[in-house]
């Protein structure tokens, strides 16, 4: 295997610097006592204090996390059931149709999803707010959970299930003690993806959020439209820290699961 040339290393380094620069730029100026993102006056934590004193902002943060956790949880349940359902469909054409329908929301542009959900919620007379945002997030997270869980189900050997049934396991036992443990990595991955989809979503939420309710993305958008506020910088430091923690946490969880799954079985 050839080594990376010096020029290649420089190129990669430049790409890394550019990718991370905006994030560290935000973090750096979050400690700036001057109100701008251009001249650093002196170190301060006042912008962090401002975040924690602003009850409205705290409520928005809690809402964002709540919507993400709840929507990921519901989407994981619906998506896993859907994947089990799809895997049990015998007809190939039917399965293909279900999968195509499944993928519609994955490939559709956010704006179109947002706009069509807005029409949908208005049509059925739902009030825009927490519920509409939660339902939308569940809606666009379900297909990704299906895509994460389904391959695991299809890898499952039917002999395992037959063996369990032969040995006297009930259908319920088969589900909870054979199928679910084996597809667990897919379920975790699905939940994690749903979580990140929800936390990162702006466009869909922006359409269905209404007046009284806001998530972090929508709030940052309206703050950013009025100009630079270092409160946003403080928030980004917090978001970055949480993201890194979640990624590291997820890495350890999946590695433990993988190590457990690989004990004896070479993949």
């Amino acid at each position: 295997m050839s080594k990376v040339s010096a020029a290649g290393k420089v190129y990669l380094a430049v790409v890394f610097v550019i990718l991370y620069a905006p994030i560290f730029y935000l973090i750096f100026y979050s400690f700036n006592s001057g109100g701008t993102m251009s001249s650093f006056e002196s170190f301060t934590l006042e912008h962090y204090a401002a975040v924690f004193e602003d009850t409205r902002l705290i409520v928005i943060l809690i809402n964002t996390v709540l919507v993400a956790l709840l929507s990921a949880l519901i989407a994981t349940i619906v998506g896993t059931m859907g994947a089990i359902g799809i895997a049990s469909v015998r007809s190939k054409a039917m399965r293909q149709t279900l999968l195509s329908l499944n993928n519609v929301l994955i490939v559709s542009p956010d704006v179109v999803i947002g706009a069509s959900f807005l029409i949908l919620f208005t049509m059925i007379g739902a009030r825009l707010g927490f519920t509409s945002v939660l339902l939308s997030h569940v809606a666009f997270s379900v297909p990704i959970v299906v895509l994460m869980v389904l391959p695991k189900l299809l890898e499952l050997k039917s002999s395992l299930i037959d063996a369990a049934l032969d040995l006297g396991a009930s259908r319920r036992d088969v589900l909870t003690r054979v199928i679910l443990p084996l597809i667990q990595p897919g379920i975790y991955a699905g939940f994690f993806m749903a979580l990140t989809y929800s936390l990162d979503d702006f466009a869909v939420t922006f359409f269905v959020t209404g007046n009284g309710f806001s998530t972090l993305s929508v709030e940052i958008y309206s703050m950013a439209r009025t100009g630079i506020t270092l409160t946003i910088n403080a928030i980004s430091t917090l978001v970055f820290a949480v993201t890194v923690l979640v990624v590291v946490g997820y890495y350890f969880v999946t590695n433990r699961a993988k190590a457990a799954a690989e004990a004896g079985v070479r993949v």
């Binding site: 790409v15 990718l19 049990s88 499944n102 542009p109 706009a115 809606a139 890898e155 922006f206 993201t243």
Partner: protein, 268 residues
């Protein structure tokens, strides 16, 4: 696990009906309504007016430029990544910034590209006059490329990673130069990764509206901005839906064109 698919499929089927089929039907239905809710074909006529055609063309042009530059920077990065020692670790590090909220990254560029930002400070050192880079085509394309790069790197990296090294070695042994090997062996064999990369960049680039609002300065230059404008500013859901219908048509066309089908079925 035969039998009982009906029970497990029930909530999922409900989801399909409510959030996949109904929204598509509603968008199509609304595209035939005027601002007073009367049936009309006017929206479609409007879409083919000079104003909208021009906007569509501009949107395509920007999406093309964004996809092109994203590809130009992503391919070498992916290629070099596959040659590093801890390639998966480096790949993860490339992907991490894409998990930071999109809005925060875009907001950072308001400062970075601004009149008093670091880019202008660097330019000044080299004797250039500071210029307002925000609200220009350059800043719009730059930020969009920044946002999409990790999504383009990922599929290209995967296809390069799967590439059989012996084919490359065979080409070299048979006397192909480095460039020839790349052009006639490596690139064609990783073209599927490139196509998926184009797919995850081009259509989202057509439908951007947040970046156009924050960075390109409120101009309506993409189909996405036009939809947002019609729905949330002009309150003309009919016209907005019509543009959405066309955006979906373009999406389907580009998927057929790039020919990457998300195949279901057996994993092995």
């Amino acid at each position: 696990m035969q039998n009982k698919p009906s029970f497990a499929l029930l909530p999922y089927a409900l989801w399909i009906v409510l959030f996949v089929i109904a929204p598509i039907a509603l968008i199509v239905f609304y595209s035939f309504l005027d601002i007073h809710g009367e049936f009309t074909l006017e929206n479609y006529w409007n879409f083919f007016s000079a104003e909208y055609l021009q906007m569509t063309l501009t949107s395509f042009w920007y999406a093309f430029l964004i996809t092109f530059f994203t590809f130009v920077f992503a391919y070498p990065t992916a290629y070099l990544l596959t040659k590093t020692k801890h390639k998966y670790l480096w790949l993860t590090l490339i992907i991490v910034p894409s998990w930071i909220n999109l809005l925060l990254k875009t907001y950072a560029f308001i400062g970075i590209l601004g009149l008093y930002g670091p880019v202008n400070a660097v330019l000044e050192v080299f004797g250039f006059e500071p210029t307002q880079m925000l609200f220009t085509d350059f800043s719009f394309i730059f930020v969009a490329v920044y946002i999409f790069i990790p999504f383009m790197i990922l599929p290209i990296f995967n296809s390069l990673d799967k590439l059989d090294r012996s084919l490359v070695e065979a080409a070299r042994d048979l006397g192909a130069s480095g460039w020839d090997t790349f052009r006639r062996v490596i690139f064609p064999l990783t073209f599927n990764g490139v196509k998926s990369g184009i797919q995850v960049t081009f259509i989202p680039a057509l439908s951007l509206f947040m970046i156009t609002r924050l960075i390109a300065g409120n101009k309506v230059i993409t189909l996405g901005t036009a939809i947002e404008q019609q729905f949330l500013v002009a309150d003309n859901w009919g016209m907005g839906s019509t543009i959405a219908v066309f955006l979906v048509i373009f999406m389907v066309a580009s998927m057929l064109f790039t020919g990457v089908r998300t195949k279901g079925g057996r994993a092995k």
